[in-house]
Symmetry: C2
Subunit: 286 residues, 2 copies
């Protein structure tokens, strides 16, 4: 397994590869990431995993500085999973015009990708600019790695939607494969941010996925008053000590609020325990 | 020479090509375009020319509907120049989600590329959204054609600058080659929009390039009061019947207003004769 941090060296290493599977990550890898690597191994001759904590997708008050960076352990896991190439660019490599100002790091990435309006809804509503940052870094990584297939987890359902739009609307010759969310036995979706939770909070956190399942069961039992289901779920989670950002039933194909005509739904939630913001979702076909 | 209008057929035709030279155009080809094709022939094994009048880069009051479309004559010229593949997508092929509204064509391209602030200066000041439309369509075409080299004319100097930034900041693995402006004997830069001019206007139009040369001569003669030179040029052109948009001396490397420290300058102008907006520029190394 090669570990490469410069774009030029990456291009050289991948020059003769005709069937590249690409898994972009922010590192601190867990079984959800490794599941994507396994999918890539099955489908592609050469698996490239990037590890890059992308400043462009973090808000001013978010956890960029504290985001867990565990490169050595990540590389061990990737080697064991059969990854061929790990790409670990520095911030200066990704954003060469970066400058340090008195108020913090300035990323001089003045050519950016602006995603559709849906990027300002759901997680985008409380994280302005987040999906523009994601779309921009993924476009850059796609141009660096030039994969035939790229793998994204369904836990970040809205991100997956934005990436699919990126590929479709900018005509990237890349197939997007979605990996199922990997969960703890309790139902808690694996996330690098779970590492911020105390043991007690981790137990508490299982309620997020439970609540989504309760909504799904209610819908399957013909309760299609989505707003009432959403409100009941929010009330319950707030009572359990969460600060709920959103719980919402959406059309899984376009992420618009669900209507009675929709056959493929997704129930999405974002909420905080203490300072830790967690997201989850489940799909539901009627 | 193949003429292809679908993206899928294009990808199939180019699949085994490893050294593609790409010349994106809006058609109505003149010797300036053919110069770019000749450069591509010299440097690449396979030359692809796209012909697409891109609605996304036209403003509401601009000449989208009247822009000259001369596909048959264009293809004859390209065949004679040794072009291998002409890509002629329809608007629906480039923007599949397009919808027709009561107020006109709606391009449902909701994932777009936003260029740097310089795109709102010079031609961008009077053509809001123009360079975002250019950057977005070129990014799409780059992803469709996947060339190793792409060729752009220096007549559209600001466009060339935006494309270079696109490639650099989004890490496209593409070399950009700039072709020199091709001119009439009078000095008038070749442009598809010259076809709008009457014989009398065409004679008059040579004054644009003459004026740029007068500024260059003055600067070479140590007159570095750029503002005064710009104002004199505007006054002269307005007196000759032009409606001047801008005449400006800039740093050729970053398009910022020129300073006395700059060694590589570009003098740019945009002005209208009648309803026809023409642009021109000349570079100047001190």
């Amino acid at each position: 397994m090669q570990i490469i941090s410069s774009t030029n060296a990456l291009r050289l290493a991948l020059k003769t590869q005709a069937n590249i599977g690409f898994v972009p990550t922010m590192g601190n890898l867990h079984a959800g990431h490794i599941h994507l690597v396994n999918l890539a191994k099955q489908q592609c001759n050469c698996v490239v995993v990037s590890i890059f904590v992308n400043p462009l997708q973090f808000g001013a008050n978010e956890d960029l500085a504290n985001y867990p960076r565990t490169l050595e352990a990540d590389c061990e896991k990737l080697k064991a999973a059969g990854c061929d190439t790990v790409f670990t660019p520095t911030v200066a490599e990704m954003y060469p015009q970066m400058a340090q100002s008195a108020t913090g790091i300035q990323l001089n990435q003045s050519m950016t990708i602006v995603p559709p309006d849906i990027a300002n809804d759901l997680c985008g509503a409380s994280r302005p600019g987040h999906f523009a940052g994601v779309a921009t870094v993924v476009a850059k990584l796609f141009n660096m790695v030039q994969p035939q297939t790229a793998f994204f987890g369904k836990k970040d359902f809205q991100q997956l939607f934005v990436i699919r739009e990126l590929v479709k609307q900018l005509n990237y010759p890349i197939q997007i494969v979605a990996g199922e969310t990997v969960r703890e036995t309790s139902g808690l979706a694996l996330s690098s941010r779970n590492g911020y939770l105390s043991a007690a909070q981790k137990q508490q956190a299982a309620a997020l996925n439970e609540t989504l399942h309760e909504i799904a069961l209610a819908i399957q039992a013909q309760n299609t008053n989505f707003e009432s289901l959403e409100n009941a779920a929010k009330t319950k989670l707030n009572r359990l000590g969460w600060q709920v950002d959103y719980v919402t039933v959406r059309n899984a194909l376009n992420l618009q609020p669900a209507t009675l005509a929709d056959q493929h739904l997704v129930i999405l939630a974002a909420a905080k325990i203490g300072n830790t913001r967690l997201i989850d979702n489940i799909e539901l076909s009627l």
